[in-house]
C-alpha cells in the first residue's frame, strides 16, 4: 500500500479535473452526434446524474479508505467533490434546459414532484460547497467552520440517492445499491464525527 500511495502522490490533482471535464464534455458530444442512442436527452441526463452519484460515493469513501485500507486519496478529495458538483450541475441543466424546457414546467416539477424536489434540495445544498472548494475559502472560514459547512455533503448525498430510488419504475436493484452505499458511508462518517465531538 505504501508503494500505491507513493505512486498516487506523484499524480497531480489537476489531472483529475482535466479527466473529469473531458469525460463530461465527451458525453455531451456523444449525445449531440448520435452516440448515446436515439434518445440522447434522457441518456445524457441519466449519465450525468449517475456519474455525479458515483463521484459522491468516491468522495465519501476517501476517509474510510485511508482509515481501513491505508489508501491515501486525500490529495484528490477536493477534485472528486468539485467534479461531483459540476456533474450534478450538468445533470440539472440537461433536465431543465433540454428535457423540461419550459420555465413554468420546471417550477411546477420542483414544487409538485417529490423526487424532483429532493433532487433539487440536494443540488442546492451542494452549491455552497462548490463555491467554497478553494484554499481562500478554507482560510476565510477557518478549518472548523469550513469542515462543518462541508458536512452538508451527507444530507445532499442521501437526497441524491433517494432521488434516484424514487424515480425508478418498479423494483430496481441499481438505485438501491447507491442508496445502501451512501447510507453506509454516511453512517460511518457520522459515527466518526460523533466520536470526535465526545472527545
Amino acid at each position: 500500500m505504501t508503494r500505491v500511495n507513493a505512486g498516487l502522490r506523484r499524480v497531480p490533482a489537476w489531472t483529475l479535473y482535466i479527466a473529469g471535464a473531458a469525460w463530461g464534455g465527451w458525453l455531451f458530444w456523444l449525445g449531440a452526434t448520435g452516440g448515446l442512442g436515439v434518445e440522447p436527452i434522457e441518456a445524457l441526463e441519466h449519465r450525468y446524474g449517475e456519474l455525479a452519484l458515483q463521484l459522491i460515493v468516491a468522495g465519501l469513501a476517501v476517509t474510510p479508505l485511508r482509515q481501513w485500507a491505508g489508501l491515501n486519496m486525500m490529495p484528490f478529495r477536493r477534485a472528486i467533490g468539485v467534479l461531483a458538483f459540476f456533474h450534478v450541475l450538468a445533470h440539472f441543466l440537461v433536465w431543465a434546459v433540454l428535457d423540461v424546457q419550459r420555465l413554468s414546467a420546471i417550477w411546477a416539477d420542483i414544487l409538485e414532484r417529490p423526487y424532483v424536489t429532493i433532487g433539487m434540495a440536494g443540488f442546492v445544498l451542494l452549491i455552497p460547497l462548490g463555491l467554497t472548494s478553494n484554499n481562500w475559502s478554507v482560510r476565510r472560514l477557518g478549518t472548523l467552520r469550513w469542515r462543518r459547512l462541508h458536512r452538508l455533503v451527507y444530507p445532499a448525498a442521501l437526497l441524491g440517492a433517494l432521488h434516484y430510488v424514487w424515480l425508478a419504475k418498479g423494483f430496481q436493484i441499481e438505485p438501491l445499491l447507491y442508496l445502501f452505499a451512501i447510507v453506509g458511508l454516511v453512517a460511518l462518517r457520522i459515527r466518526r464525527a460523533g466520536g470526535r465531538v465526545a472527545r
Partner: protein, 301 residues
C-alpha cells in the same frame, strides 16, 4: 367482422424503406449531417408527425423481461425463442384451445397501421405496424355472452429473459382491456413493423397495439388471451395503483404523480429537440372518446 378503420397516416408520413435502411449509414459521418437533413426533408410528414426510423423503433424499448435499460431489449431479446410459438385462448370463449402462431395469423387480413405511440414516460414515436384487428380474432374464437374483459399474458422464460430474474414486476407481465376497447377497430394484434416480421425487442412474434393508451397497455410477446367477466390483473396497475390506472388512456390533463403528461419528447429529434404537446387519447379522440362517455377520466385514469 370488425368495423374497418382507415388510418389517417399513410406511407407519405413515414420514412420510405430505402431511406430508413440508409439513414444509419448517412448519420454515421458528422460531415454527412447536412445530407441527412436534405434527404430527411423529403420524408418528413405533414403537421406534427416526424417519422421514426426502423433503428429508432428497435433500439429504444421498454421490455423489462430483458432488462430495465432502454437498450437492454435490443441487446438481449435475441435470446428469446419465437418459433414455435403458441397462444392459449381460454375463458369465456366458444373455441378455447392452444393455437399456434401460424393458426392465429392464417386467414387474417394483415394491414399497415401507422400509429402514434405514446409511452407513459412521456416519450413518443410514430410506428408503421403490420397487423390485424383483434376483433377479427375474437370473432373467430367466439366471445361468449357475459364476457366483459380480455386479459393478456406475456411469455415468461427465465433462461431466455435475464430481466425476470429481478422482481421488477410480478411476472408474467399481464394486461387487460374492456371488451369494447378490445373490439375497437383501432386495436390491433401486430405481427410486424415496416413490413418486417416483429423484431424480438418489440414483442415478437405477436403483440397488442392500443394506440390511444400508454404504451405499457400494448402487451408484447403474447402467450395467453383470456375472456373474462371481471376486470383482469394488469401488472403496472397492480404494482403502483396510484400511478398506473387500469384504463391508462393517454390524457394530457391527468398527470402521472411523478411527472407531467401534458407534453412529450418525440424520439428522433436529437439532443435539442423541442417537446410537443400530448394529444387527448393520443390524437384518437374522435375514434375512441365515445367509449368513455360519462366516465370521470381523472378517476378512471
Amino acid at each position: 367482422m370488425a368495423r374497418r378503420y382507415t388510418s389517417d397516416l399513410t406511407w407519405d408520413d413515414v420514412t420510405p424503406k430505402e431511406l430508413y435502411l440508409n439513414r444509419r449509414q448517412i448519420m454515421a459521418g458528422a460531415g454527412a449531417m447536412l445530407g441527412a437533413g436534405l434527404i430527411g426533408g423529403g420524408a418528413r410528414a405533414q403537421g406534427d408527425l416526424e417519422p421514426n426510423t426502423f433503428e429508432e423503433i428497435t433500439t429504444y424499448n421498454n421490455f423489462y423481461e430483458f432488462g430495465t435499460g432502454k437498450d437492454d431489449p435490443a441487446r438481449n431479446a435475441h435470446m428469446m425463442t419465437t418459433q414455435p410459438w403458441s397462444i392459449v385462448v381460454d375463458g369465456m370463449v366458444d373455441n378455447p384451445g392452444t393455437y399456434s402462431f401460424e393458426e392465429i395469423v392464417a386467414g387474417m387480413t394483415i394491414e399497415e397501421r401507422i400509429y402514434r405511440f405514446r409511452c407513459v414516460e412521456a416519450w413518443s414515436m410514430v410506428i408503421p405496424w403490420n397487423g390485424f384487428e383483434l376483433a377479427d380474432l375474437l370473432a373467430r374464437v367466439g366471445v361468449q355472452e357475459g364476457a366483459r374483459y380480455v386479459a393478456f399474458e406475456t411469455l415468461v422464460r427465465p433462461e431466455e429473459m435475464p430481466g425476470v430474474r429481478v422482481p421488477v414486476l410480478d411476472w408474467p407481465y399481464r394486461e387487460g382491456l374492456r371488451l369494447d376497447e378490445a373490439m375497437h377497430p383501432l386495436t390491433i394484434m401486430a405481427t410486424g413493423i415496416y413490413g418486417e416480421p416483429m423484431p424480438n425487442q418489440n414483442g415478437a412474434p405477436i403483440r397488442l397495439v392500443v394506440p390511444w393508451k400508454y404504451g405499457f397497455k400494448s402487451i408484447k410477446s403474447i402467450v395467453r388471451i383470456t375472456l373474462t367477466d371481471e376486470e383482469p390483473y394488469a401488472s403496472w396497475n397492480a404494482a403502483q395503483p396510484r400511478e398506473y390506472g387500469f384504463y391508462s388512456n393517454v390524457n394530457p390533463n391527468v398527470n402521472h404523480p411523478r411527472w407531467s403528461q401534458a407534453s412529450e419528447r418525440r424520439i428522433g429529434g436529437g439532443l435539442f429537440a423541442r417537446r410537443i404537446d400530448t394529444l387527448m387519447f393520443n390524437g384518437y379522440e374522435d375514434e375512441v372518446a365515445s367509449l368513455y362517455e360519462g366516465m370521470d377520466l381523472a378517476e378512471f385514469f
